[in-house]
Symmetry: D2
Subunit: 83 residues, 4 copies
């Protein structure tokens, strides 16, 4: 029978190291892409665009046209109540 604790990569300490290192690697890649995104937005700002509005556009593009229209209508309805 194979000892589950000592068998190759299943040896627990090695498995833990592997998990930690894989997560650390992913963290680095994520950080790199976040930096890239920051650069793109900085360039957009330098070009004269409004970054906050760009973020809104991106959020809204995740919705389909119906959702967007419905959300807008609801907001409009609620805001009319406050004059």
């Amino acid at each position: 029978m194979i000892d589950p604790v000592k068998n190759g990569n299943n040896f627990a300490p090695e498995r833990l190291k592997s998990f930690v290192e894989r997560v650390e690697r992913l963290n680095e890649e994520i950080k790199g892409l976040q930096d890239d995104r920051k650069e793109v937005l900085a360039e957009a700002k330098a070009t004269g665009f409004d970054v906050k509005t760009i973020r809104k556009v991106i959020q809204r593009r995740k919705m389909d046209a119906n959702e967007r229209a419905e959300a807008d209508a609801l907001l409009d309805m609620y805001e009319r109540i406050f004059g």
Copy 2:
């Protein structure tokens, strides 16, 4: 003279589209890696490791040994005050 507004990719609407699409693409890649990371941690948990502790280990590995020792000593000092 070149019209800065209409010149090729500098035509503002195209530039805006470009920025938005680049950010959306980066968002997708980031999301993919975040999902990968979630999977790795889920696998670690399924293997019997404690995810919260793994996160602590990763945080602490960002510090050098001195920082870590100092942070630990400070916490210990403060906690002694509370018995």
Copy 3:
């Protein structure tokens, strides 16, 4: 001369305890109000209102009319570019 370390409440351990306890007390009060807010929103939802839209209304009411109009106009302009 008064020893700054041992003088009454300035005795460092007591000061630390005091800071920690004050923060803990504030945390509790904040938690209570957050729970109250959650209840109000749950009641609004039960009444048939859309909570997400209510949050938007509250955010927008923080802006003055000009800011709001300008933000809306900018968003509209950007969205037209994407047809």
Copy 4:
């Protein structure tokens, strides 16, 4: 019969206003307490304490002694693996 839409405070627009205003009031109170907390931590820092460590102490005081000991032991075990 009473018209549910127009009956006193059940008139929907009034109910919406009421919900929004109650939430806004709670938000203000929460903000006030958050500012108080920030002041306390700033004072602690000015007194020479480390704010990050104070936050750790507060987090750990939420756990009972057993939980704390167990969490510490687990972290120690995992860290030994990395030498």
